[in-house]
């Protein structure tokens, strides 16, 4: 059987040796190279043509995410498996955007690491449990841009903005709104200009119309 060739990219020697010690006895996996930063990973990938690159995210100079993009651009058949200690969605979504096929937390067990490498080598995706959990949470989070359930055409207004808009629609002046809500006239103006900017509205009259059309009166 053909061995799966891998390159390990991590700026920490200890982490690289840790991973190597996990994988060195595996008969179907061959570690063909190590890279100590993003630039190195790009060069090693080009030269050694591995099947899978185990990629750390934060590395000096070229980050793991940038290196992923560069490797995928020059050689799309190389699969990138992100190994990270960050579980923030930004890191995960942006590495996926740049072409990574899998994400693992560094708290990984030997079995899972091997499963992930084999899955990627077979051209499929792999995400550790905590990562997929986080991704789904983010997709369902109603405050999140990644949300798939929310149609994003409705612009979010805060409680206070709704109150100000309601009073504008009722024809109150800034001064009157300030008195009614016990806020300063300056704050009323701040809300008003924010509303206009958010809703792409240029005049107070148009704000009032927006309030009526959206049942905020």
């Amino acid at each position: 059987m053909k061995k799966i060739k891998i390159v390990i990219a991590d700026d920490h020697l200890l982490v690289r040796t840790g991973i190597i010690s996990l994988l060195k006895d595996m008969p179907d996996i061959e570690i063909v190279g190590e890279a100590e930063d993003g630039q190195d990973a790009v060069e090693k990938a080009k030269k050694l043509k591995p099947d899978v690159v185990l990629m750390d995210i934060s590395m000096p100079g070229v980050s793991g995410i940038e290196a992923t993009l560069q490797i995928k651009e020059s050689n799309p058949s190389i699969q990138i498996l992100i190994l990270t200690i960050y579980e923030n969605e930004e890191y995960i979504f942006s590495s996926l955007k740049q072409g990574a096929s899998g994400v693992l937390h560094k708290k990984v067990s030997k079995e899972e690491l091997i499963t992930a490498i084999k899955t990627l080598a077979a051209g499929k995706r792999y995400f550790s449990h905590s990562v997929s959990q986080m991704m789904i949470d983010s997709l369902l989070d109603k405050n999140d841009d990644n949300n798939i359930l929310n149609s994003n055409d409705k612009i979010f207004l805060t409680k206070r903005e709704k109150e100000v808009l309601y009073l504008i629609a009722n024809g109150l002046s800034n001064q009157e709104i300030a008195a009614r809500l016990e806020i300063s006239a300056r704050t009323v103006d701040t809300h008003k200009t924010n509303l206009m900017q958010k809703l792409n509205i240029k005049t107070t009259a148009a704000l009032a119309r927006y309030a009526f059309e959206n049942n905020l009166k």
Binding site: G18, K106, I183
Partner: protein, 385 residues
Amino acid sequence: MFLLKLIFSLNNPVIIAILISLSLLGVIYVFYVHIIIPLNQKLAKEKENLELNNARMMALFARLNPEPLLRFNIDGTIILANEASNKLFEGLQIKNTNILSIFTSLKEFDIKDLIESQKTIKFSLEIKNKYYEVIAIGIRDMQFGQIYCNDFTQRKKIEDELTLSQKRLRELSYKTQKLQEEEKQKIARELHDSIGQTLTSIRLNLEVLKEGLDGNKEKLSKINDIYSLIDNATTEIREISHKLKPRILDDFGLIPSLKALCNDTSKISGIHGTFESFKLNGRLNTELETSLYRIAQEALNNIVKYSSAKEFSLQLVKHPGFLRLMIEDDGVGFDIEKIRHDPTKKDCMGLINMSERTLALNGNFNIDSRIGGGTEIIVEIPLEE
């Protein structure tokens, strides 16, 4: 004859009446010439004396005034200059010159109108390294105007020193903050990269060790204990490092960082929070991103600690020429004046920090709060387009 005699006789009542009238007129004439006329003359002289005295007194007051004082008539000609003003304008011909040639700031005003409408004009003047507050007052009844020059050099010096020391303090606080940020970032990176990665590699090596146990249950449970110890340490280090300086701020900028901050704060505190950004794309400069993040962090800290709010919202709205960060909550609010005047209060430091950070970016910091009615914090930073 008899008739004539009869007419001019003293027995004729008409004659008697005429004689009485004539003597009355005589008496009146004598009274007028000898009593009324001299009396009038005396009064006029007294009045003249009084006015003269009055003028002398006023002149004396003017002369005695230790501050420079000038008097000018309706044409603008200086009719009086006291000793102090002569000294002030030493070497200049003051008396009988036009006021405008000395006080050029008055050129934009009509001197006649100044006197007729009794106006007061104030401006400042620098002469021989001294600063004067000049006041010109028109006095209609006297048909002249007066100019007072109050020396406020001392006050100005103190004011200038105060402004300078405020500026220095601000620079110092700015530098301290910057150093602190750099220091925090350094420690955060050290913790995360060095200790964090060491823990990771320990964990990976432990995986290898686990293999050689061949199902020894006792040793396996020991190793599992070590796993959880390592995991706890890793989590703690990640949290400390994140609190010091969130890595996501460096790597992805303000919007993802604020989103994460908002979500974390909501999760930990149970207060429902939202974050939205409008019309802002891409990265801002590092300093601006760090400062706005810290301001938001401080504001959310306060909300969690003091506000008892049910909801908060964090908004970043890009306007033409400036960026506005707005943090609102529906909590208990507070009396801004009270906190401002009591800097011993701990939460006051937070407000000062936020406002200092805003000022360092040439921005506007504004806070609006009322007891029982929530709080709005508004930060506006100018942006180059």
